[in-house]
């Protein structure tokens, strides 16, 4: 059996005295699509950044692709793609230049062709030669997605990617994610959009105040339970324990 893509055990991350993540256990196998829900401040972004090796855990163990991040974080970076609130794009450079730069940094073979291909997939070919500064938010987001997909990562981490996208762009993003998932990429999607999460993913995880309160596959019956847990957590100000509908 292949190594789990993500293996987190007792994962904790503190900022000063505040524990953003508290003894989290999570295992995600290859090819899974996991939706990560939770109220604001639950620690979802922190978790994603830990998984992207941008942060180091304060305690606990994290393994990516079977390798311990503490020792070999750098080695797995080229297999991970992160799409975050920020686009990580240089505003004064064009999409082509941005992508070319990242392709060099990731050592992607066949750079020029790959950049063109990825720009084509996100539908940015017409804007490829204007500085990113001049693009609208939706187009910028598409370019950011292109950047995340550029090096064909096996694990794609997405932090509320649908925020601020119009219907067209959101639809395109959904399609792209579905394609990626069909191609074997493991997805971890943080979103407030419950409907999209259920549509795209096969498993859902709920995070409240840094703790995992629910982790179950998405089927018809559990969809309602998830909504109840999630909404309940929102209303209770994030102080609830495990789901009552469980």
């Amino acid at each position: 059996m292949a190594d789990p893509v993500i293996g987190a055990c007792g994962l904790t991350r503190r900022f000063g005295n505040v524990a953003a993540l508290d003894a989290l256990d999570l295992a995600v196998g290859p090819g899974e699509a996991v939706a990560l829900f939770g109220p604001n401040g639950a620690g979802k972004t922190t978790l994603l950044r830990l998984l992207a090796t941008l942060l180091r855990p304060t305690a606990g163990e994290l393994r990516l692709f079977g390798r311990a991040v503490a020792d070999e974080g750098a080695a797995v970076r080229h297999r991970i793609g992160l799409l975050s609130h920020h686009s990580f794009l240089y505003p004064d450079l064009t999409p082509t230049e941005n992508l070319d730069f990242y392709a060099r940094m990731f050592g992607t073979p066949g750079r020029a062709a790959r950049v063109r291909e990825v720009l084509d997939r996100v539908g940015l070919v017409g804007w490829a030669h204007r500085p990113v500064r001049t693009l609208s938010r939706g187009l910028e987001q598409r370019c950011a997605l292109a950047r995340a997909l550029l090096h064909e990562p096996e694990l794609l981490l997405l932090d509320e990617p649908f925020t601020g996208l119009d219907v067209d762009a959101a639809g395109m993003l959904s399609d792209l994610l579905r394609q990626a998932h069909a191609g074997g990429t493991t997805l971890l999607l943080v979103t407030h959009d419950l409907w999209r999460g259920f549509e795209l993913c096969t498993r859902a995880v709920v995070l409240v105040r840094g703790r995992l309160v629910r982790d179950a596959p998405i089927g018809e019956s559990t969809r309602d339970e998830f909504e109840r847990t999630y909404v309940g957590a929102l209303h209770a100000g994030g102080s609830s324990g495990p789901a009552t509908g469980g």
Partner: protein, 232 residues
């Protein structure tokens, strides 16, 4: 640290510091004879020099604490570095005040650009930057980490700075007599007084450092507990 070791430090250190301080004060003002050339003002020297030595020592502690904090982690190293920097800053200020007080009647100027005093001034600026770094940084450990980087870089730089200022002064024609701490101690009682004064200030530093790190440790422990209760 075991609690018995703590109690020991709590009681012995301040007592020792107090005794040494009283002894030093007595010796500086009563026991030691006035310097023939410089007169009464010279007595400041018995405080000025030990203060200078200890403030550099304090920065050394800060540097070591910073390096260990960066490399190994562990808040206790950062607490040590921070406490040492706070106390070191105060000592440094005293050095920069006593220096001119001594210099003015003797050499007729407020400030001598000699290597040690100038390096001390730069050390003061680095202390200031270190302490300021902690307040203007973002939440959590960021401030501590950035300050630690400064601590390490500063420590590497101080010897270089000292050397360059020294060269700067000696290659120029000597305009002012550089204050030489060791020479001119004509009377053995002066050496003794200096030694006692140094011990007193060192003990005072150790005690203040102990107090400060302890209070920081307790404060951190309190914060941790509070977070646990609230987080529940």
């Amino acid at each position: 640290m075991t609690s018995s070791a703590r109690r020991l430090a709590d009681s012995v250190l301040p007592a020792a510091a107090l005794v040494a301080m009283v002894a030093a004060l007595y010796m500086v003002f009563v026991y030691v004879p006035s310097d023939r050339v410089q007169g009464i003002v010279q007595r400041i020297f018995y405080f000025h020099v030990p203060l200078a030595i200890v403030t550099f020592l304090a920065f050394g502690v800060t540097a070591v604490g910073s390096a260990l904090f960066l490399w190994r982690g562990g808040r206790e190293w950062d607490r040590l570095a921070h406490a040492s920097a706070e106390i070191g800053m105060v000592l440094c200020t005293l050095v920069l005040i006593t220096g001119p007080i001594w210099a003015r009647p003797i050499w007729g100027t407020w400030w001598t650009w000699d290597a040690r005093l100038t390096t001390t001034l730069i050390l003061w600026l680095i202390y200031a930057a270190y302490l300021m770094m902690r307040t203007v940084s973002g939440p959590g450990e960021q401030g501590a980490r950035y300050a630690a980087i400064l601590g390490v870089v500063g420590a590497v730089d101080i010897p270089i700075i000292n050397r360059s200022v020294y060269w700067w002064r000696t290659i120029h024609p000597a305009v002012l007599v550089t204050r030489e701490g060791g020479s001119g101690l004509s009377d053995p009682r002066m050496g003794l007084t200096l030694g006692v004064s140094f011990t007193a200030i060192l003990l005072l530093f150790a005690w203040l450092l102990w107090l400060r790190t302890e209070s920081a440790r307790l404060r951190d422990a309190l914060e941790d507990m509070r977070q646990q209760v609230v987080g529940q």
